[in-house]
Symmetry: D2
Subunit: 166 residues, 4 copies
Amino acid sequence: MKELAVKTLLERGITLPEIAEIVLDLQKPYIPHLTVEECLLSVERIVEKREVINAIITGVALDKLTEQGHIEEPLNTILKTDDGLYGIDEILALSIVNIYGTIGLTNFGYLDKTKPGIIAELNNKSNTQVNTFLDDIVCAIAAASASRIAHRDRDLAEAKELSQSS
Amino acid sequence: MKELAVKTLLERGITLPEIAEIVLDLQKPYIPHLTVEECLLSVERIVEKREVINAIITGVALDKLTEQGHIEEPLNTILKTDDGLYGIDEILALSIVNIYGTIGLTNFGYLDKTKPGIIAELNNKSNTQVNTFLDDIVCAIAAASASRIAHRDRDLAEAKELSQSS
Amino acid sequence: MKELAVKTLLERGITLPEIAEIVLDLQKPYIPHLTVEECLLSVERIVEKREVINAIITGVALDKLTEQGHIEEPLNTILKTDDGLYGIDEILALSIVNIYGTIGLTNFGYLDKTKPGIIAELNNKSNTQVNTFLDDIVCAIAAASASRIAHRDRDLAEAKELSQSS
Amino acid sequence: MKELAVKTLLERGITLPEIAEIVLDLQKPYIPHLTVEECLLSVERIVEKREVINAIITGVALDKLTEQGHIEEPLNTILKTDDGLYGIDEILALSIVNIYGTIGLTNFGYLDKTKPGIIAELNNKSNTQVNTFLDDIVCAIAAASASRIAHRDRDLAEAKELSQSS
C-alpha cells in the first residue's frame, strides 16, 4: 500500500525527499542536529498509514478527474480555479495532520499560507495540472512528519532522563 | 446555490422532508412540542451554507464517478464496497457537522451506526447506486440540523428569561 | 507518562479492563475470534500516547476543579450539570479519536449516545463526582482502541494474502 | 452571553478592535476596500456564538487556574511553559475556527506560527500572565472572522451578479 502512495505522489511530480526538505526547514530551529535523512524516514512512516494513503488517492483522483473533464459544473470550475472558499481540500488534509495530533495544525496552516518550495510550484495556477487537493496534501504530510519528529525527540529526551536518574 | 444542494440530493433519491423526519426523532425527546415543519426549516438552513453545499457536491461526485467507472483501482473497489476502514467519507461529513459545533458529533456517530430510515436504505449494499459518501452526508445534515434546533431552543429560553426578569 | 494516564483514570473510578469490555462489544461483530485480552492491549497502546494523556489529564483536571469549587460562573454550572450545548468535552475527546483516524467518529458518537456499561454510571447525574469530561474521554479511548484493532486486523489479513500469493 | 466573552477577553488584556486589526491584515489583500469597522463587526458576530463563548471561558479558566496554582503536576508545568507538544489549546481553538468552515484552518495556523501584533505579546513568556490557551483562542477568533468576511463578500458578489443577469 505504501508504494501506492509514493507512486501516486510521484506521478503528480512530488518526491518524498522534496517533502523531507520542507520538514527539515520546519523542525531545524527546534532540533539543530536534525538531518534530512531523519526527516525522510519520518515522511516515509506517514505515507504508509492507511488513513494517509486514502486521503492521497482520493485527493489526487479528484485532481485528475478535473483535468480529464469528468467533473460536472459548478464543482468543475471550483476545482479548476482552486476556489479559496472551497474547504474540502483542507478538511481532507486535516485527516492526515490529525494522525500525529493537533500540534500539526499550526505547521499545516503556515505551509498552506506561505507555500515554500515545491508547494508554490504546485499552487502555480498557470500550470496545466490541477493541484487543488495535492498542494494541501503535501502541506499536511510535511506537517504530520514534523509533529512525529517533535514527539519522538521528546520521547528520546524523556527516556534519557529516566535512565540517568536511575 | 441552495437549489444545487437540493437538486443533487434529490437526484440521488433523498428529499429534505425525509431528513427532517430523522431530525425530529433526534430532538423530540428534548423538545416535546417540536414539529416536523420546524425540523424541515432547520434542514433548509443547513443545506444553503456554502461549506455544506461543497461537501454534498464533492461526495456525490465521487459516488457517481464510481458508478460510471471513472475511478482507478484500488480506490474504485474501496468506494464500491464502502470499505469500513476508509474514513474520507466521515471526514467530509465532519465538515458539515462542525458548522453547528461539536455537540453534533454524538448524533452524527449515532446515526451513522444505527442507520435509521432512509439511511439504512442508502447503505443497503445490494443497491446498484453507490452511496458511500451520500449516507454519511445525510447523517451529517441531520446531526447539524438537530444541533441548530438545540441551540435556537436555548436562545429562545434565555431571551424569554431575560425579558421576564426585566 | 502512561502510568499517569492509568492512575488518573483509576482515581476517577475507571480501569482499563472496563474500557476493554466496551471495545470487545464494538469489534466482536466484525472479528468473531477477538478476545478481551487483545482489546486490553489495544487500550494500553492508546493511553500511552502523549496526545491522549494530555486530553485525559486536562479533562479530569476540569472535572476535579469543578468539584472543588474552583470554577467561576457561568462555567461552573455548565460543567456541574453537563450542559448538552457545551461541546468542549466532545472536542477534547475528538483529539483522542483522531489518533486512529476518522473511522472512530462513528463509534465515538454511538457510545456517547447509548452510554453502555461504565459510561452510563459515569453519566449518572445523581453521582456527586463531576464526570462531564471523563465520560466523553472514556468513549473516545474505547472508539480509538476499536479503530486500532480494525486497522491491525486488516494489516494482518493483507500481510497473509501477500505471503500466500508469493 | 456575548458580554461574557467580551469581558473575559478584556480581563486578560484583549479588546475586540485589536483582533479586528489582525483580521484586516488577513483579508485586505483579497478585499481592498475592506475597513476595520467591518472587521470589528465580524469579530463581534463570532464572539456571540455559544460554541465560541464556551471555548473562550474554558481556555481562560485553565490559564487563570494555572496562575492561581490550582493545577496539579505535570499539567501545571505543561501549561505554565506552554509546552509545544501539548495540543489541547489548538484543539479548543479548532472548535472556534470550524464554525465558519475549514477555510479558516490556513489562517489559524499562519497566525499561530507568525504571531503578529497582540498575539506575540500574549505569547511572550517573560509575561507573568499565563496565556497558553488565550493566544490560540485569539488566533482562532481572527481566523473565523476572516472566513466569515470571505464568505459574505462572495455572497454579495453572487447576489449582485444574479440581480444584473435578471
